[in-house]
Amino acid sequence: MSESRVTSLVERKNIESKWVVEGDPWEAFRQIEVITLELTQSYRHSLGKYSRFFLELENGRFLGTSCPTCHKVFAPPRPLCPDCLSITAWQELPGTGTVQTFSIMHFPSLVNDDVRRLETPVTLAYVLLDGGSTLFPHVLKAAPESIHIGMRVRVAYAAAPVQHPIHLMYFVPLEE
């Protein structure tokens, strides 16, 4: 390949028309250029009406929301009860619960430093918190072979700084 002034150039080549089953009407369009295209964004991302959940995690408290009308308790919180459209109230939960299902992820989404710091495989556990009505999905730090449906767990609070406030917590086995 001759020198190019295109700094993002990956390659230039002629493509064999292997994609065309019969005949190739695109013969004059087989010379291709591939470049690197970078698009990155960062946002001032408000956590909105869900914010208090994250604020209280930093204080070592685990909050759900409860519906004043149908008494369902949402964890993760919902500001609006989807069953009756009532505005919910914050409610502290003890942070203990039971694993209802889980998956051991060998390739978690490396979306932030918090996930990148985790030892793989990472267990994603769905936990029914005591006093809650829904399952809370989060990382369960436990030996993979020890994890099972029905396992008792509790919320643990991170001591070290985190990038996304959801990582102020994780689940660990409950020693009863």
Binding site: T101, H106, F107, S109, V122, V139
Partner: protein, 400 residues
């Protein structure tokens, strides 16, 4: 024929591939639409009264307002156009929308074209992150969650509750990739064994690499119109058995799996979509009354859940039914003759349309002889977004 029943006039498809680096996303759409024009027996797009663009992601396609660009590229201006998006269900939701546009009299003909570049132009790790953006970002994606894990967590409960076995869903991974071998447009035909699936590397347990569907580049197009329009404009309409898009159903479910507790094993939205479509098509015994189907096998186990939610077998019996070959090519109801998402591939915006194309071509008797289902008169497509968050069931029937 029923009033303004949308008929399938023509279909077009690109091969699905892991890396169509000879094309950008517009080139792919052009390829599928030109194929559709040829297949429909129309000279050009002048008589087409409406366009409908089907694609999921600005991130994958590196372009916003892609609908306007494709419409322009195809020379469809000033014809009206609409873009439809519904996650993994995008293509099927696009067809459902087109169905309503024709039925309502908004137009007599509509060209539905879908495309996506989900292939190797983006690293698979980045692709996983982009797909995770279509989960609940602050609650599921940020803890490192992946769609494979969400589906795997569902399957684990299915296994625990109904005794479903890894060998049973591995059967789907083997059969659909084998079916793909009879489809020259399939991305990844493979001749593999159950053991190959069980022994491939774990991705999100219990799912292994070979339980997972493909990332693809590709496009698909389908022209829908009234019979009157077809008789006037299509030279091929009278040549082949008339196939109508007779019914469509749509159902939804919560975004997060945990909000469905205690019902974690199956897709309630899919059940609702199927019931609507069946009611509308007059189907009371789907296993008997449907001859061929393309099911949304984003993961092998999802097909087991689907055959239950579509009412082919009772809930909890999908595993043994699949493993017994009930849905193989020589079974009671052949499914995923195209190879499905596991073997043919899955460029998201094209997927639901490509499923419909397989079914329609089966009804026309126009697929390769090895995969042709004989005497097929009624076919179904099952497509969904998320973990069954938006579900669409479309039904196509021969009218002769």
């Amino acid at each position: 024929m029923a009033d303004r029943m949308p008929m399938v006039i023509g279909v077009g498809l690109t091969p699905f591939a892991s890396n169509r680096e000879d094309c950008n996303v517009r080139d792919l759409a052009v390829e599928a639409v030109l194929d559709c024009v040829r297949d429909a027996g129309i000279e050009n797009l002048d008589a087409v009264q409406h366009g409908l663009t089907s694609y999921e992601s600005d991130h994958f396609n590196r372009q916003m307002t892609l609908g306007a660009i494709l419409h322009d590229t195809l020379g469809l201006n000033p014809t009206p156009n609409v873009r439809v998006e519904g996650g993994g269900a995008t293509g099927a939701l696009a067809l459902r929308t087109a169905w309503a546009y024709v039925k309502s009299g908004l137009c007599d003909s509509i060209l539905v074209y879908g495309c996506e570049t989900n292939g190797k132009s983006i690293a698979s790790q980045t692709a996983n992150q982009l797909f995770a953006l279509s989960a609940d970002v602050d609650w599921e994606m940020m803890v490192g969650g992946t769609y494979t894990a969400f589906y795997a967590a569902m399957m684990r409960v299915h296994m625990e509750q109904y005794g479903t076995k890894r060998e049973q869903f591995a059967h789907v991974a083997v059969r659909n990739r084998r079916n793909a071998a009879a489809n020259p447009f399939a991305q990844r035909p493979m001749d593999i064994s159950i053991d190959d699936v069980l022994n491939s590397r774990p991705i999100a347990e219990p799912y292994t690499l070979l339980d997972c569907s493909l990332l693809s580049d590709g496009a698909a197009a389908l022209l829908l119109a009234t019979e009157e329009w077809a008789k006037q404009h299509s030279s091929r309409f009278a040549e082949r058995p008339p196939v109508a898009f007779t019914a469509t159903g749509c159902g939804t479910d919560t975004m997060r799996l945990g909000d469905r507790y205690p019902h974690l094993t199956n897709f309630a939205g899919k059940r609702a979509a199927a019931q609507q479509a069946y009611r509308s098509a007059g189907i009371t015994n789907p296993l008997e009354q449907i001859d061929v189907a393309e099911l949304y096998d984003s993961y092998s186990g999802v097909e087991i859940q689907a055959v239950e939610d579509l009412g082919f077998v009772p809930e909890g019996q999908g595993g043994p039914a699949v493993a017994d070959g009930m849905f193989d090519h020589d079974g009671a109801l052949p499914v995923n003759t195209s190879g499905g998402l596991l073997g043919r591939g899955a460029p998201v915006g094209a997927t639901g349309i490509a499923q419909a194309i397989e079914v329609v071509q089966q009804l026309w008797g126009e697929v390769t002889p090895e995969r042709q289902v004989h005497h097929a008169r009624r076919g179904l497509t099952d497509t969904h977004a998320g973990i069954g968050t938006i579900c669409v069931v479309n039904i196509f029937e021969r009218q002769d």
